[in-house]
């Protein structure tokens, strides 16, 4: 069988850097799938992507599809001929669909239900030369393109204008026409360092020929080259280059021939908050910033140029000239923002809509203030500080700096609060109230910050549920999932003693007395369950706690119970105790309401007395307050585990559903007591 490498290249104008990765990934996946679907044998598909080309190489692609044999079933023999022995309509129709004119070509198939006419169609495998065009069109038609464009007077559409198409099978051009381009073997090299058309003689020499023309077509190779160059800068400058992986990807998508160049800026700008300088360098210029070995921002940057300049110093000087006005702008915003206080910004906050039905950010700030005060009171922190921080935490949304760099919200508020002379706790709380800013992200560390962070999130959560806009599978514009998880993590990991149900109700009440919290509370518990599952705690452990007698109000308490149950499950007694709980739950469920108290005089067997005594001891143990909260539930679980042999012995010897009603009721009451003892921690019958 003949196999050769297949090369495809679409040469385009500069593609959007953030789309380059998704585009090439999708193209290669599609090609892989389409080739497999059409049964063309091949080894691998290698992708190539640069700002000006989408390409791939299929190695050892078979020239032919395998031949195929298809059995097509026609009409039953009975229905195939009429009374005069002439072919019926059913038969002629079937033959037409098979492209036959003689019924002798058909075979007979005997089955238990009768005899059928069948056609053994032999389909010779297609040739790649004929089928590749269709495969490519299919693969290109479903690329993830946000906005397609037209150009010139042509009616075709793509991400950016397309200039040429290479389609080589080994050394042979396969004819195809895609996006108004006829296939050929020529392309362009680097926009400036290479000139004229480049001929690709054979598919497998593509990457090498392009490299000779100053284009590194392999995305990952280009990316590692940039990383190596950044490492060299680090060594040279005795500093650390901070590499944001997203920025690295973006920069890799912006160059065909990367060259790292490092420049400086005026150290006077370091008086502006570092985060603002970094934002200016990163978002506007795609620069990497440098810090010294202590992590302090240096007045330096690295840019990745797309050329081996004849005069690199000119490129550096040019970049230094650009960054200066950018930083000057940041400094301008910083100074201008400091001319007003956060408090005086509040009025303008009244013009910024938070959500059409939930009012402006001023309304929100006032609500956050009240909720934060309520939380502070519960957790024993300064109420007025929390209220103050809550009121001011959104006031930087109307600051010029945040208008320019939205990612600095909160952070700039902190700087401005400090400038306004607000108490340090307020400054800190404003700064960190958006935390955690991503799943698993850092949490606020100050108590006031925690109070405001929770207040802000619960306000959003109760508000959106209140107006019946909870998150759906695909839509979560206010990031309620992340925010809810944030509340859970702050409460648990900071060990806050907060009644979450009461706080939710208080927060909902700030919007409207009509806002119910049932759905929000359930949503929060659902998220809590997911959070546990993500950590490898099985769903039944959490459900056992969730559906115990002790309703979840204090998330920290809930967490201690979940962890204790999780430990308990590893104990040797667990299995029998869980089985006993299931059994008891079933018995009690069938028995209905039980109101009898336990009368020891009605005990008939020593096992009954033993269980009663053991339950009494356990109950006393369980009620005794434990000083160390961490150990509390673990100790209680041990107490329960100790009941195992007594309970097992009871079921071995005692027949609960005794004939005599008084004895039966007495036994059910004993079981009820036992069940209640367990249920105070968790519903063990729900464990699997």
């Amino acid at each position: 069988m003949i196999v050769k490498d297949l090369l495809f290249e679409l040469q385009t104008e500069e593609l959007p850097p953030k789309s380059l990765g998704p585009l090439i990934k999708s193209l290669v996946n599609n090609i892989d799938a389409e080739l497999k679907k059409s049964q063309f044998d091949f080894k691998t598909v290698t992708s190539y992507a640069t700002p000006r080309r989408l390409a791939f190489l299929v190695s050892d692609l078979a020239e032919q599809q395998p031949d195929q044999s298809i059995e097509r079933r026609g009409p039953a023999l009975q229905a195939a001929y009429d009374s005069e022995g002439k072919p019926s309509k059913a038969l002629t129709g079937f033959m037409r669909s098979c492209g036959l004119d003689n019924p002798d070509m058909l075979e007979k198939l005997e089955t238990s239900k009768g005899t059928w006419l069948v056609y053994q169609q032999h389909k010779p495998g297609g040739n790649i030369r004929e089928l590749i065009g269709d495969i490519l069109l299919k693969s290109l038609s479903t690329l993830p393109i946000d906005r397609k464009m037209h150009w010139g007077a042509s009616r075709v559409e793509f991400v950016r204008p397309v200039h040429s198409l290479i389609l080589l099978y080994g050394e042979e051009i396969l004819p195809a026409r895609i996006l108004n381009c006829d296939s050929g073997r020529t392309t362009l090299g680097h926009r400036f360092m290479s000139s004229g058309l480049i001929n690709i003689k054979s598919a497998n020499e593509y990457a090498e020929v392009l490299r000779d023309n100053y284009v590194i077509v392999d995305f990952e190779a280009r990316k590692s080259l940039i990383s190596e160059q950044l490492a060299k800068v680090e060594a040279l400058e005795n500093a650390r280059v901070i590499i944001d992986p997203e920025l690295l990807d973006e920069v890799t998508s912006l160059v065909e021939w990367p060259v790292a160049l490092s420049g400086k800026f005026d150290p006077a700008f370091l008086s502006v908050p570092g985060e603002a300088l970094i934002s200016a360098m990163k978002s506007h210029q795609r620069y990497f910033h440098l810090v010294d070995l202590q992590g302090k921002l240096l007045p330096r940057f690295v840019t990745i140029a797309n050329i081996e300049s004849k005069d690199p110093q000119a490129v550096i000087a040019g970049n230094e000239r650009v960054i200066s006005p950018r930083l000057a702008d940041a400094a301008f915003f910083y100074r201008r923002d400091q001319q007003t206080t956060l408090e005086s910004n509040l009025e303008r906050l009244g013009n910024v809509v938070f959500q059409a039905k939930l009012g402006t950010y001023l309304d929100k700030a006032k609500r956050i203030s009240r909720i934060a005060g309520f939380i502070a009171e519960q957790i024993g922190e300064d109420v007025s500080l929390a209220q103050r921080a809550g009121l001011l935490c959104k006031a930087d949304l109307v600051a010029s700096m945040v208008g320019e760099f939205p990612e600095l919200q909160g952070l700039m508020g902190g700087y401005y609060a400090h400038h306004d002379g607000e108490p340090e706790a307020v400054v800190q709380a404003i700064k960190e109230h958006y935390l955690p800013s991503f799943s698993g992200g850092e949490l606020p560390t100050s108590a006031t910050g925690q109070a405001v962070a929770i207040a802000d999130k619960l306000d959003t959560l109760t508000g959106l549920f209140g107006i019946d806009q909870p998150p759906t599978g695909s839509k979560d514009p206010f990031a309620l999932r992340r925010q809810t998880l944030g509340v859970i993590r702050i409460c648990i990991q900071a060990g806050l003693k907060l009644d979450i149900r009461e706080t939710l109700a208080m927060a909902a009440g700030q919007h409207s007395p009509d806002f119910s919290t049932t759905a929000v509370y359930d949503y929060l518990l659902d998220r809590l369950g997911t959070w546990y599952q993500d950590q490898g705690v099985p769903g039944d452990t959490f459900n056992a706690v969730r559906f115990s007698h002790q309703v979840i109000t204090d998330l920290g308490d809930c967490d201690r119970r979940v962890r204790s149950i999780q430990e308990f499950r590893a104990q040797p007694q667990a299995e029998n105790l869980i089985a006993a709980n299931k059994r008891v739950a079933n018995i009690l469920k069938k028995a209905g309401a039980i109101d009898a108290s336990i009368d020891t005089a009605l005990f008939q067997s020593p096992a009954e007395s033993a269980l009663f005594a053991a339950l009494g001891v356990a109950e006393a143990d369980m009620q005794a307050p434990h000083e160390d909260l961490e150990q509390d539930y673990k100790a209680k679980c041990l107490t329960l585990a100790a009941l195992q042999s007594t309970i097992d012995a009871y079921f071995d010897e005692v027949m609960v559903m005794a004939e005599e009603p008084a004895i039966r009721a007495n036994r059910l009451a004993t079981l009820q007591k036992m069940r209640t003892l367990f249920l105070d921690i968790a519903d063990f019958s729900l464990l699997q």
């Binding site: 464009m149 010139g152 009616r155 950016r160 912006l254 140029a305 490129v315 006005p325």
Partner: protein, 310 residues
Amino acid sequence: MSVATFQDMILTLQRYWADQGCVLMQPYDMEVGAGTFHPATFLRAIGPESWQAAYVQPCRRPTDGRYGENPNRYQYYYQFQVMLKPSPENIQALYLDSLRHLGIDPLVHDIRFVEDNWESPTLGAWGLGWEVWMDGMEITQFTYFQQVGGLECYPVTGEITYGLERLALYLQGVEDFQQLIWSKSDTATVTYADVFHQYEVEMSAYNFDYADVNALFAQFDFCEAETTRLLAASLPLPAYEFVMKASHAFNLLDARQAVSVTERQRFILRVRALSRAVAQAYFDSRQALDFPLADDAIKQTLLQEVISDS
């Protein structure tokens, strides 16, 4: 460097684009936020007619004022605008050649096309393209128009907008607009600061501190009513002038922070409604003339495919 002064740069670009077949236009004599507002771009981008033009356009962006203190951000500055319709296959190469004419060696400088899509909510227009970077500085905006005044563009206009001052910083090797040499003769050297500094300081004060808010609101309302009245009289060109005036009034109000966020959106929608109405009226007026500047095949494609699709 072959191009020594600001005015030489303009002359060089005019000569170059005239040689490429562009109609050299003059700046429009009204306040606009960008060269795109000039009817030679905004209106000519509508419909099937071919059109190539180049011109300098002074632009006013009141919120960009920095009292002349920022080295490269001014509320009044110059764009050199080129519009080519339909956009030619080699439009990027044509542009890069214009840089060579200005004396920029692309083997020295790091010149790149970095994605930057353009949208003008007030003009009901959007396009895809890039900002062109030279050593990290944006020197040109490059856009393929996809929609203008709410109408799909067929054929597509390629728009090239040079930021003249920023480009001049490079050509003259200085750091600050103020230092740019505007003109130079044996007897006198005139700088950008000589020409504009006082203006920049005073206009920043006007935009941020003195513009009369109530009068501007009234002016906006008047321009809106006037546009509607003129459209009723089938006069799209004068109507469009009032859209430009309304847009500038809005920009001044914005600089005065007189418009709240919610109101802001409403104002933008009001201007957009006017732009769309003007665009449609202009299209209709050209269609009534049977699109005299259109290539026949393009005209047929527009009428048979594009319009029926949309």
